[in-house]
Amino acid sequence: MELSNLSHSLNLLLPELTLSIALLVLVLFDLIFHHDKKIISYVALIGLLATGFFVINQFSLSGFAFSTGNESYRNFGMITIDSFGSFFKLIVIVASVIIVFFSLSSDEIKKTSERIGEYYALIFGMILGMLFMISATDLILIYLSVELLSLSSYVLAGFTKLRERNSEASLKYMIYGSVSSGLMLFGISLVYGMTGTTNLYMINSLIQIPHLNLFTFSFAMILIFAGIGYKISSAPFHFWTPDVYEGAPITITAFLSVASKAAGFALLIRFVKITFVSYIDTSGFWQLIHVFDWKTLIVVISIFTMTLGNFSALWQDNLKRMLAYSSIAHAGYIMLGLAVLSNQGLTAMLIYFAVYLLMNLGAFLVVMLIANKINSEEIDDYDGLGYSSPFLAASLAIFLISLTGLPPTAGFIGKLYLFVALVDANMIGLAVVALLNTVVSLYYYVRVLKHMYLTKPETAIPEIKTSKPNTILVLVLLIPIFIFGIYFTPLVDLAKGCITILGL
């Protein structure tokens, strides 16, 4: 590998490099500053902002890092930098910044403040894994980045060790995670055996010639999907989600539900698109190579995922657990965008993700602020909250209404574009299924509103005062929900500009 190639590659990897340096600095500072650990949060913040800066700088950039340099194939690399990746990286970074703010005011995390250095180091490990997942185009790197993300998050799920449920969440996460990554690895080894390469672009050009054992290949694809499906918590690989979301510290739950899911989806989209699309027709529909029926798989899985998520959420009494099931359901909705297999569907997914980031983090944030005071996440304990703490309750209500997808909130826009993509692809039946699911979801979201506003509390709950920074943080998530709900052209334009995946 030539030196110029290396420097070119490193230039493309600036965000990841920055993040790694920040990670090292965090570990160092953790060793140096024994007593006052406050500074570590700020270091984390600065590291994230710097990374974010480089990500934004990369928006118009595209290229391959670490090209294999093999003459017989086109010069594809292990890592692809493109606007699609930058979009998801930005989502991850924004989510991370918000999570740092979360952690600053979370009681659970404050109780373990002497270990805050480890906490941020592990979070940075997760972020690094996500960034690589988003841009990886080589099966080796895909596997490694998934593992990097997973290992860090296994530990974080049980980080506080305060309650039994933390370590139980951690163990369950670990077992399910290892099994699914084992399945994925076996699938990868089969694909490697059949094609002799681990590079997605090369696999794409190799499978265009029909010489594969289709059964084995499909089997391998399903195994690989198991690994990715686990990350995005799609049924039937979702079993860990409710337990881990309920058991983990709420900052980590929120982070997993948004960032980890975003990275998983980016990986899934990139994997499907690069490996299987033979060409994109004039109206933006992807024509797949006929080796594996992704469309049917994704349609079935997404219907299954959202139905299961929504119906299970109906009888949850713990708000965190309910939000976990709701996030499973949302994964189902988002997958619909992929099932369309078109540029329009992809745009809809990106829009949905940007919106989902705001509303889901917002919901978790409010739940956390409330849990800090009343020390409970049970929905029954929210009785009468609408009157004792009007601001928090109203914010939670708006976040939940947005999750339902009612206008004029941003959640509606996400659903709208998904529906448009589905109808445009003539998949109206699927749109109707999604719609029925939305009605089901309405019931459990409204149930929270009911407890906050309509049910009289048995014992009067005290007012929950929010500090100024927290109020601002809630507003930062809340206001865009209305802005994008009413004027969403900028968001749509951004998403439209970010659907190009390099090489296609």
């Binding site: 009612l406 206008p407 004029p408 749109a431 939305t438 309405l442 009911k450 334009d493």
Partner: protein, 508 residues
């Protein structure tokens, strides 16, 4: 046509007012009440300006205001009124201040939130009636759900939570189906029109050319959503719960305006957008309407609870409106529009009156009362006029609407059978039975219940101020309906013209 922002001001007045109220202190309910009332009066005055500026001799949408909103979807903020929507907007702006005034005593807790919700709701209702863009329409349509949910849920009766959730889920289900149909139609329109659009005036041109089979699906998707709101017979089960549990103001708005949105939607969207399907399925839907008329009347007859009785009478009255719309003759549709207004006035007034005595005795049981004629004569007189108007006594408003609908359905070539008229007419008789019977049991006879002596007092000045304007209109429409019929004539004709050619093809 020149741009005119009057409608936008009308739309913004209540919402701006409601935001203003959010900043007031909860401790001063009097100020909040007055301010809310004045804001709704202001909205009424603006709507009067619209009325006086309205040109009844033009069939087009007037006061159009259009701003491109979302370029990528070709969605714009586009409002305008024709005779039908103007009449309904006037009804809305007329009823809202009255309901606010009526609830000065009934609503004692959380006055600020209540006033906020009512004004928010008013914006939603006005917006629904003036939107000329399907996307905008949908947003207003959905935006009303949340305030109504809270109005029923917070200030309602004992089973308010069950009722509010039921109401929410029913309507949400229908409206989401409509959303899919809107998108479907807009995507379909991108073929002939060259781009995705939700502009209603453009879609009017496209709708009839949608292939028959797809058109039926879209028609039913829209119809289902509206039918839940109306409600048409098998979908009515949310209505009694919501009506009975809602506070008086909520019931009045629900009966007076919200139900009309369903029938308005049928008239504005289902008929002109999907004329073939509308004509084809008209007998079927009219049948459901007839079932609704008779069923509503029979069930109303056996209700022990006054509010429930009025609620079921709504099902029957709305059945008339639906029958009128699907008869598709000029008389019938005109009658349907007038009947929408009538129902808003008479049923609204009935709910107010039930609320008046409920405030005093906290009972709505018919059996609890009896012989109150001697105790509160003014109230009984007012109740008499309102009941008679609801029954359809000649000289009062109900008669005009029902007569036109019956006449029109008899002549209708779409329905093509006089059986519809016969069965519908029986509904009028039933209405007389259940309302007069209730009146007799409540008002006449001897005072059996000693509690009544102490608790009942006659109507106060405030309550009279609320009810008298409604009575004026009840009599006005009954004696001189031309004021209103003239307004809607051309608009009705225009809708019927769009269906007309298909009507003829069916007759052949």
């Amino acid at each position: 046509m020149e741009q005119n922002h009057l409608l936008t001001y009308l739309l913004l007045t209540p919402i701006a007012g409601s935001l203003l109220i959010l900043f007031l202190k909860e401790e001063n309910p009097k100020l909040i009440r007055w301010l809310g009332f004045l804001i709704s009066i202001a909205a009424f005055i603006i709507s009067l300006f619209v009325y006086f500026g309205f040109d009844a001799s033009a069939a087009d949408f007037q006061f159009q205001d259009k701003i491109l909103w979302i370029k990528s979807l070709n969605v714009s903020y586009f409002v305008g009124v024709d005779g039908i929507s103007l009449l309904l907007i006037l009804l809305t702006t007329f009823l809202t201040p009255l309901t606010l005034l009526s609830s000065w005593k009934a609503i004692e807790k959380k006055v600020k939130m209540f006033t906020f919700m009512m004004l928010f709701l008013e914006t939603g209702m006005i917006g629904v009636f003036m939107s000329l863009d399907m996307f905008l329409f949908y947003i207003f349509w959905e935006a009303m759900l949340i305030p109504m949910y809270f109005i029923i849920g917070i200030w309602g009766g004992e089973q308010r939570i069950y009722a509010s959730v039921k109401f929410f889920i029913y309507t949400m289900f229908g409206s989401l189906l409509m959303l899919v149909a809107i998108i479907w139609l807009a995507v379909y329109a991108s073929g002939p029109l060259g781009s995705f659009t939700t502009n209603l005036l453009d879609l009017y041109k496209v709708g009839p050319s949608v292939p028959r089979e797809i058109q039926s699906w879209m028609f039913f998707a829209f119809l289902l959503s509206f039918a839940i709101k109306v409600p048409i017979f098998p979908l009515h089960t949310w209505l009694p719960d919501a009506h009975v549990q809602a506070p008086t103001a909520g019931s009045v708005i629900l009966a007076g305006v919200l139900l009309k949105m369903g029938t308005y939607g049928i008239l504005r969207f289902c008929l002109p957008l999907f004329p073939q399907s509308a004509v084809y399925y008209a007998p079927f839907i009219s049948m459901l309407a007839i079932v609704g008329i008779i069923y509503g009347a029979l069930v109303a007859m056996v209700q022990p609870d006054m509010k429930k009785l009025v609620a079921y009478s709504s099902v029957a009255h709305l059945g008339f409106v639906v029958l009128g719309i699907f008869a598709m003759t000029e008389e019938a549709v005109q009658g349907a529009v007038i009947q929408m207004i009538n129902h808003g006035l008479s049923t609204g007034a009935l709910f107010l009156l039930v609320g008046v005595i409920y405030e005093r005795t906290h009972s709505r049981e018919i059996a609890y009362y009896g012989g109150i004629a001697k105790l509160i004569p003014v109230y009984c007189a007012v109740l008499m006029i309102t009941s008679l108007s609801s029954i359809g006594l000649p000289g009062l408003n109900g008669f005009i609407g029902e007569f036109l609908i019956l006449l029109g359905s008899f002549k209708s070539s779409v329905l093509n059978s006089w059986w519809f008229t016969v069965f519908a007419a029986s509904g009028v008789i039933f209405a007389a039975v259940y309302l007069l019977w209730m009146y007799q049991r409540v008002v006449f006879g001897t005072v059996k219940n000693p509690e009544l002596q102490n608790k009942l007092t006659d109507m106060t000045a405030r309550e009279l101020i609320v009810i008298v304007p409604i009575l004026i209109f009840i009599v006005w429409i009954g004696i001189y309906p031309s004021t209103f019929l003239d307004m809607t004539r051309l608009s009705t004709e225009k809708i019927l013209r769009s269906v007309g050619s298909f009507t003829l093809s069916l007759v052949k």
